[in-house]
């Protein structure tokens, strides 16, 4: 009696409705000879019927499936005896809820199984079954009802095509709005949770505090109590790794783009460019592996050979590999931008007797500079938001330092660390992750907007 079976059942109903609709339309027109008298092709009547049968029911299914859990849990909690819930904190309450759920599903339970919890679990199971059954009945009823309604309405004068196309258009609009919905969803969820966080930790402490140790006492009497949530070391770490990465990616990417577009023969360009693009297609987890297992030990051994004290999770290792990953971004964006400079500019410079490097340095590069800057900003935004390389190769210690040989941590590493443990959803630790996510989203958004704006203005100049 699962929801996916119901989904398939509704799809089957729609297929059935399609056929019924077509048959009905043909017969209403007086057989195959009379199809001309129909307003639309018979297929459209079929779709009309299918939509009436399926769409309302599917909508109901979607909404119900999303809300069923919440509803059932609230009902179960309301029926719990007061002494079970008295004096429980938010966190302990949600633990209780998951215990009940787990018990009902037959999974392992974290706490002990009291009779009260047993009863609640039994309640939960019962209510879930009831809800699912109700859903089945309602959905099928609506579906059949819709089918009947459509069937009755089918007549040669019915403008089935228009109706169907109208529905299709609405669906397309909904699909288009999903982009807005996504951004809204991100903003809402991240902002909402961040606001919860800022109720527990002050904004000043978060953005300007220099100590980051997000340990929260689980019990009041535990040592190492309240945590510090000053994110400045994280911002500094992110900045350092990004700067190292850009120091590698920008010179190499830019000069490679210049060489490939101005000096290399088209033969060389035809294989060198795709090979460099390969770097962009490699998943970041592979880079992380490479950084953690090959580059970091290499740097450490080199450093120790030179007598320096190098951490095994140095910012240099992470930054270096991140730089390698970003080279194709810078290179291909610069290449596009350099090629957009018109040939007439180059002709003018050559005709005056300039060498190719002079032409590049004095004419083409300055002309392409806005576009290149835009590309670099996009690359910076990419570096800031990069997660896997730093998770695997950079450390966890919130170290505020200028030394790239030490271990630092970044915003993205902490987001992962805070959310991949086992904690309830509203402790300051998990909420801190959302606050970090908000900061990250805003910074990358601003960078992207500026970058895209610059690149667009630059393109307009030459078109």
């Amino acid at each position: 009696m699962s929801i996916s079976v119901l989904f398939l059942a509704l799809l089957a109903l729609m297929a059935l409705a399609y056929h019924a609709g077509v048959k009905r339309a043909v017969s209403a027109a007086g057989g195959h000879a009379g199809i001309k008298s129909l307003h639309s092709l018979p297929g459209y009547y079929g779709f009309y019927a299918a939509l009436w049968a399926g769409l309302p029911a599917l909508l109901l299914l979607g909404l119900w499936a999303g809300l069923q859990d919440h509803l059932v849990i609230s009902l179960v909690m309301a029926q719990l005896s007061p002494d079970l819930v008295a004096g429980l904190s938010d966190g302990q309450l949600s633990l209780l809820v998951s215990d009940i759920q787990n018990l009902a599903r037959g999974n392992i339970v974290a706490g002990e199984v009291t009779p009260g919890i047993q009863a609640a679990a039994a309640d939960y199971g019962r209510l879930q079954q009831l809800a699912t059954l109700t859903l089945w009945i309602l959905a099928l009823a609506i579906g059949l009802g819709g089918l009947t309604l459509a069937w009755l309405r089918i007549a040669p004068t019915l403008r089935a095509r228009n109706r169907v196309e109208g529905v299709v258009r609405v669906i397309l609009v909904v699909f288009s709005s999903i982009a807005i919905l996504t951004t809204l969803g991100i903003l809402l969820s991240v902002v909402f949770e961040s606001l919860l966080f800022f109720q527990k930790v002050s904004v000043i402490e978060f953005f300007f505090g220099a100590e980051w140790s997000p340990q929260i006492a689980l019990r009041k009497d535990q040592v190492g109590a309240s945590g510090a949530f000053g994110a400045v070391p994280l911002f500094a770490g992110t900045l350092m790794v990004t700067v190292i990465a850009m120091l590698i990616a920008v010179p190499i990417g830019l000069m490679a783009a210049i060489y490939l577009s101005e000096y290399a023969s088209s033969q060389v360009r035809s294989w060198a460019k795709p090979i460099l693009e390969v770097l962009a297609g490699i998943p970041t987890v592979v880079y992380g592996f490479f950084a953690a297992l090959t580059v970091a030990p290499l740097i450490r051994d080199l450093g120790e050979g030179l007598g320096l004290n190098v951490s095994s999770e140095s910012a240099l290792a992470a930054g270096l590999v991140m730089g390698i990953m970003i080279i194709p971004f810078v290179s291909s964006l610069s290449d596009d931008v350099i090629n957009a400079v018109p040939q007439s500019m180059r002709d003018g410079s050559y005709a005056l007797g300039a060498t190719p490097s002079e032409t590049m340095r004095r004419v083409i590069f300055p002309a392409a500079l806005p576009g290149i800057v835009g590309g670099v900003l996009l690359a910076v935004s990419r570096a800031i938001g990069e997660t896997m390389i730093v998770v695997m190769a950079a450390g966890m210690s919130a170290n505020l330092t200028w030394n790239p040989l030490e271990s630092v941590t970044t915003v993205t590493v902490q987001i992962v660390a805070l959310l991949t443990g086992d904690q309830e959803f509203d402790s300051p630790k998990t909420l801190a992750a959302f606050a970090l996510g908000l900061a990250l989203f805003l910074v990358t958004l601003v960078l992207n907007v500026i970058a895209l704006h610059i690149v667009r203005k630059y393109r307009e100049q030459y078109e």
């Binding site: 288009s176 190499i252 895209l452």
Partner: protein, 580 residues
């Protein structure tokens, strides 16, 4: 061809007349052409430097690609092979099925571990001490008993018989066979070697003497090792070169012998079917423990015996010398070999490297990607269609467009946060399932697909639309029957590339909980699963050398899939690219 500048002889100002004096008279300065010629050398040097820098950048970039691939392939290629040990297993009925009822439950619960261990003990009867036995049993994987169980369950008829079975070796043995435990150097003895049993407190002590002072190589090696500062100097007296004719006794060499310990590279002498672990060495003779019994005590002629050297000291490796001796024995008898590691592709995750495979992760990736494609392609194409063909140009659609462009550049981890807050927390979809993973990945790849689809639609010329409308098709029919089919190749290309990116994504899936240790292969969209890149991430944390190998191999599989997908996209684009 680029504007190649050939530096060469500067141009002469030319024969007199209008050039020389005229020119100089005009500006009152040196002729222009002379100034230009003077600057040429400097400018061409700058040109060469610039060109060189550009080329180096390209070379460095290509080198990075090569290094990355060489590293991963070097680390991972050996994972596609797995070591198996052949043992004679006695499927004793008393152990497996004492009551003879062939009850499947009984067969399943029988003590196959004992069968495996007995087979090992039978193979190496000389191993008697308890500690040694533990080490011996460690040769086989924890999965070996399961192999025996599968055999019996498949064919209960073998109960009571004795069979030769190839059993899975433990990852330590596997690593050694692949050369990742220690480098092994072999040198043939060049002189006649004679054996002398040594009386003493220890058992199995043997002295090997060589006429040709073969063992001075050992002493040199130890001296080198100490010189590199890797081991402290024991302060023993330097070696002296004995005269070739005499056969020195051990006592006369006492002053010049070296003592080998576990902090130094190990040396073994393979002679007469046995293995002697060198404990004390002089240039002409060594004394050591027999790790493997000799078949005879006769002298071994030159080239019939060998000195083995294990470069990594015993302290620095997991496999001790006596275990290596057993492996060597198995190798000599042809009872140990590497086979293609099908288990890598058919097994799920495991704590033991030799039992770990990517089957679970592959299925998880498959379910997740299939669902992602199913969700994102229609929505992406539909949105692109609407925005490109039907949407009025007002502030709302402009906003949508700006939104899409921005979303394409948002860090992927943010989508993970979205998934966590909305799908898991609000809608209550269970964590770590392909469904929630697909939802998150859909939102992530949607902008890419929309942008690619829009440009595919833009490339269809307006004349097609006009022609369709001209014969009376409705706008929607024009799109679906005429425009869309022409734009599909471009859209598919965008979709394939979007899927390729989604296949490699790790961060957002970590957020939604796909980090759990999943052993069983997922069976549906709602069963707990993990995906291949997350599996790589999890294994990368494991310290065992065996997991480094497997992680690299998993990466190679991942890269292979990505290569295939990208190639498909390129071919698709090339085949269907039309020039209007």
């Amino acid at each position: 061809m680029s504007n190649s500048v050939t530096p060469g002889v500067p141009v002469n100002p030319g024969p007199g007349g209008a050039t020389g004096p005229d020119r100089a008279g005009q500006d009152g300065r040196r002729p222009t052409i002379e100034i230009v010629n003077a600057s040429l050398g400097r400018r061409y040097r700058a040109e060469r430097r610039f060109r060189f820098i550009g080329m180096s950048a390209v070379v460095i970039g290509l080198a990075f690609v090569a290094i990355l691939f060489a590293d991963i392939i070097g680390k991972g290629h050996s994972a596609f092979q797995q070591t198996y040990i052949r043992l004679t297993v006695d499927f004793s009925a008393e152990v497996i099925d004492p009551e003879g009822r062939r009850d499947p439950a009984v067969l399943r619960d029988a003590n196959y571990l004992k069968l495996a261990r007995d087979a090992l003990a039978a193979r190496f009867p000389e191993v008697t001490r308890r500690a040694d036995k533990q080490a011996l049993y460690g040769l086989l994987s924890a999965g070996a008993p399961l192999q025996l169980r599968e055999r019996v369950l498949a064919d209960p008829g073998i109960i009571g018989t004795t069979q030769e079975i190839w059993l899975l070796a433990d990852d330590d043995a596997d690593m050694f066979m692949k050369g990742r435990s220690t480098p092994v150097d072999i040198e043939r003895g060049s002189g006649l070697a004679s054996l002398v049993l040594v009386e003493g407190d220890e058992d199995n002590q043997v002295q090997v003497r060589s006429r040709a002072n073969d063992f001075s190589a050992i002493l040199r090696d130890l001296a080198d090792y100490r010189e590199e500062g890797r081991a402290p100097n024991p302060g023993s007296a330097p070696e002296s070169a004995p005269s070739p004719q005499s056969v020195p006794t051990l006592e006369s060499d006492l002053a010049s012998q070296e003592v080998l310990g576990p902090d130094l590279p190990s040396h073994l002498v393979a002679i007469n079917g046995g293995l002697v672990k060198v404990e004390r060495a002089t240039p002409s003779a060594v004394i050591g423990t027999l790790l493997k019994p000799l078949t005879s005590n006769v002298d071994a002629p030159a080239d019939q015996w060998e000195i083995l050297r294990f470069a990594t000291p015993e302290n620095d490796r997991r496999l001790k010398d006596r275990v290596v001796a057993w492996l060597h024995d198995l190798g000599a008898a042809g009872d140990i070999e590497k086979r293609f590691n099908t288990g890598f592709f058919t097994q799920g995750a495991s704590r033991e490297p030799e039992l770990a495979g990517i089957a679970g992760a592959l299925m998880g990736s498959f379910y997740t990607l299939a669902l992602t494609l199913l969700l994102s392609f229609p929505v992406g194409v539909g949105a692109a269609l609407y925005l490109e063909e039907f949407a009025p140009r007002n502030w709302f659609t402009d906003l949508i467009e700006v939104n899409i462009n921005n979303l394409a550049a948002v860090p992927s981890i943010i989508f993970g946060l979205l998934g966590l807050a909305v799908f898991i927390n609000f809608f209550g979809i269970p964590r770590s399932t392909p469904l929630v993973g697909a939802l998150v990945l859909t939102f992530m790849t949607l902008p890419t697909i929309i942008i690619a689809s829009r440009s595919a639609l833009q490339s269809v010329p307006p004349s097609i639309r006009e022609a369709a409308l001209g014969v009376g098709a409705s706008p929607l029919q024009t799109q679906f029957h005429h425009v869309l089919p022409l734009a599909i190749p471009g859209m598919l290309t965008g979709a394939i590339l979007g899927m390729a990116r989604a296949l490699g994504e790790t961060a957002p899936l970590l957020m939604i909980g796909m980090v759990a240790f999943i052993v069983d292969t997922p069976t549906g969209f709602l069963s707990p699963a993990t995906v291949l890149p997350v599996q790589v991430y999890l294994w990368a944390d494991s310290p065992e050398v065996g997991f480094v190998e497997r992680t690299s191999a998993a990466i190679l599989v991942l890269l292979a899939f990505l290569a295939v997908m990208n190639l498909a996209a390129v071919l698709l684009r090339r085949k269907f690219e039309r020039r209007w």
